[in-house]
Amino acid sequence: MTTRWFKLSLMEQMANIGSEVYRAIKWQKKDLTDSKKSFYRALELFNFTLSDPKNRQRLKEVSRAKELFSSWYLGNSPYRQSAEEWERYFFQFNLACRLHT
């Protein structure tokens, strides 16, 4: 997966992470097991993104997003965040990738 992942632009990587974030949030209300699976996948994709050599100069936002999303999802964030804000944040990457389609 990493070989395939590294071929994506950072924007595409973040948009794909956003898909898992969206699923983790959506399933929180309906099926916690499915929600956790999506959460763990999001973490895995965050880690792939952080290990991508081409992202070396742009790690700060990715690592902060990972930390803040993880702590929010696990319920121990000191910051006020909401599901809507997380969805909005990742949606921008999706939009940027698909603007010309």
């Binding site: 395939r4 794909n16 949606f91 698909r98 389609t101």
Partner: protein, 114 residues
């Protein structure tokens, strides 16, 4: 990644889901050709395959199938990065048009057999 133009069993989808994401498989459906590609790592890969096979991008929609929710409305999840298409006025990751949703449901229900 597999192109489905006849049928695929739920058992095979369950096996695919365990090898990939654990609880779901990614699918892209062509609503004109009434075929789908399943089991790609990314919807974008499945989209690319269908376009190579002659599909028009505007006919392609990304969904996720949850095989353990077969028979319920949660079996099909209308969500994919590739669905966001400003040019077609689809401004979310879902499938905004309910007629298109219904077309996708019918194609999936025809191609996936228990």
């Amino acid at each position: 990644m597999k192109l489905i133009n006849k049928t695929i069993s739920l058992t095979e989808i369950i096996k695919m889901s365990k090898n990939q994401y654990g609880n779901l498989v990614k699918v892209v459906v062509d609503i004109d050709k009434k075929v789908m590609v399943i089991d790609g790592e990314l919807h974008a890969d499945e989209e690319a395959l269908l376009i190579q096979e002659g599909s028009r991008q505007s006919s392609l929609w990304g969904i996720n199938l949850y095989p353990d929710k077969y028979g319920s409305t949660d079996f099909i999840e209308f969500d994919s990065m590739i669905n966001l298409r400003p040019s077609q006025n689809n401004l979310s990751r879902g499938v905004d048009d309910t007629n298109t949703q219904e077309q996708i449901r019918q194609i999936v229900n025809t191609l996936v057999i228990k």
